[in-house]
């Protein structure tokens, strides 16, 4: 096997008999007991996910806010301290180099969370956009990330940390401590359920992971369930729904481009050549990444980016890039290697009963 990076939890996953596979250069758990079971448990109880492969940067110093507003698409004017926001790192053409969350810890003090596969290239792109006096640091090697997701996650977190988190709204975060070490608790996630993303020192990750799992309501979930959960929630995956051939508007996220700053790629971020359509299939058969999308008459007009049987819905769902000329079309056929599957355009999220946004306070 080629050299794969290991998280502080890799040995634990293997000892549990998890199916492991390479992801973004890391040896990651795909499943423990089974994708469907882990998916259902996350929708009904609470699951922990090892997300240590993702990258974290800090940005600080006088002028950091102004420099960041020029470097990414996020609207920082309306981002209060203690809040975080989703957005994009664009190239000069306005296409997507990565999607990332910006955490505002102070007026000029930020944390950026990026995809593992993009960590090195994101850091280089951001560094090139930073003026003297602003400090950009890559803290990925010291920073572990564990996601606690599911409707019971607030109860689990409160029981473990003996602290109230009902008052922490969606896309908000605060610092606390676990076993004497700093722990950043962010009410965010990638499953469509109520949940938290937990950041802490790399060498404390195993302690927190095991402490969370002492709660009988919590099970570990792998990247397999993470993918079906995020797809049902209608959330994009970089490299599938987002890439350097498309801009955020094409990906259906033009409304997020509210920043008044003249950020890199702004001019090209709104041109629409293709559109990302959410599709519902008729039966249990799944479309897969790379399958061709055709009009009912067989004319090829697009490509599937992600597709799966949706465990919480009982039918196949998918995203596809379609040429803008056919954006108003509602009926398509997915050409898989084995069959032609009728597909209908639907609305997002695919799964509408998720608890991610519920008010707890």
């Amino acid at each position: 096997m080629s050299h794969l990076l290991e998280t502080p939890l890799s040995a634990w996953h293997k000892a549990q008999g998890a199916k492991m596979a390479p992801f973004a250069g890391w040896d990651m758990p795909i499943q423990y007991e089974g994708i469907l079971l882990e998916h259902a448990h996350t929708r009904t109880a609470a699951s922990v996910f090892d997300i240590c492969h993702m990258g974290e940067f800090t940005l600080s110093g006088a002028g950091a806010a102004a420099a960041l507003a020029q470097a990414v698409s996020h609207n920082l004017e309306t981002l209060a301290i203690g809040k975080c926001r989703y957005g994009f790192l664009l190239n000069d053409e306005g296409n997507v180099l990565d999607d990332l969350i910006v955490y505002r810890k102070g007026e000029n003090d930020f944390m950026l969370v990026v995809n593992g596969a993009c960590e090195a290239s994101d850091f280089a792109a951001l560094a090139a956009r930073m003026p003297a006096g602003v400090q950009l640091h890559n803290i990925s090697a010291q920073t572990a990330k564990i996601d606690l997701q599911g409707p019971l996650s607030v109860d689990v977190l409160e029981a473990l940390l003996q602290e109230n988190f009902h008052d922490l709204p969606y896309f908000s975060f605060r610092s606390t401590s676990f076993a004497g070490e700093s722990l950043l608790v962010s009410r965010t996630g990638y499953t469509g359920e109520l949940g938290y993303e937990l950041y802490l020192p790399w060498d404390k990750a195993l302690d927190l992971w095991q402490a969370l799992l002492t709660d009988a309501r919590v099970k570990p979930a792998g990247l397999g369930a993470r993918d079906t959960l995020r797809l049902e929630a209608g959330l994009p995956l970089y490299g599938h729904e987002l890439d350097t051939a498309h801009n955020p508007t094409e990906a259906g996220m033009g409304k997020m481009l509210s920043s008044k700053a003249n950020y890199v790629g702004k001019a090209g971020a709104s041109a629409v050549r293709q559109v990302l359509l959410p599709l519902k299939l008729e039966g249990r058969r799944a479309a897969r990444n790379g399958d061709s999308l055709a009009l009912p008459d067989g004319t090829a007009v697009g490509t599937i980016t992600s597709g799966s049987f949706a465990p919480s819905l009982g039918y196949g769902i998918a995203f596809a890039w379609v040429d803008a000329a056919h954006a108003a079309q509602t009926e398509f056929v997915v050409q898989t290697a084995r069959a032609g599957l009728p597909a209908t355009v639907t609305s997002l999220p695919f799964y509408t009963a998720g608890t991610a946004r519920i008010a707890l306070a």
Partner: protein, 126 residues
Amino acid sequence: MSNPAELLYAKTHEWARVEGDEALVGITHFAQESLGDITYVDLPAVGDVVTAGEDFGSVESVKAASDLLSPVSGEVIAVNEALEAAPETVNAAPFTEGWMLRVKLSAPATGLSAAEYEAVCAAEAH
């Protein structure tokens, strides 16, 4: 789960249970475990002809789709219709309730013994 000694096996992880001039066909425990949660099974129609070593359908799991290769030759005389609504039966009981086809044999069935098949699995597991 052990591989029943009375079955014949294909290197491609299907099994055949020969009963007179008929055979039941399914996939092995090793196959279902490699595939993970099965979400769809595409089977031929009753009356279709299957040929040993050639594809007779496909199986989809959450992560992938795979062809099914017939371990025997003959005419399909029944398919397991319960798998349409409950494909997870293949995961739960691959050698029994998760059977896929009943075939009227047109040629004597051949295949690996359980011991020979286990050697194939051991080699693939590395």
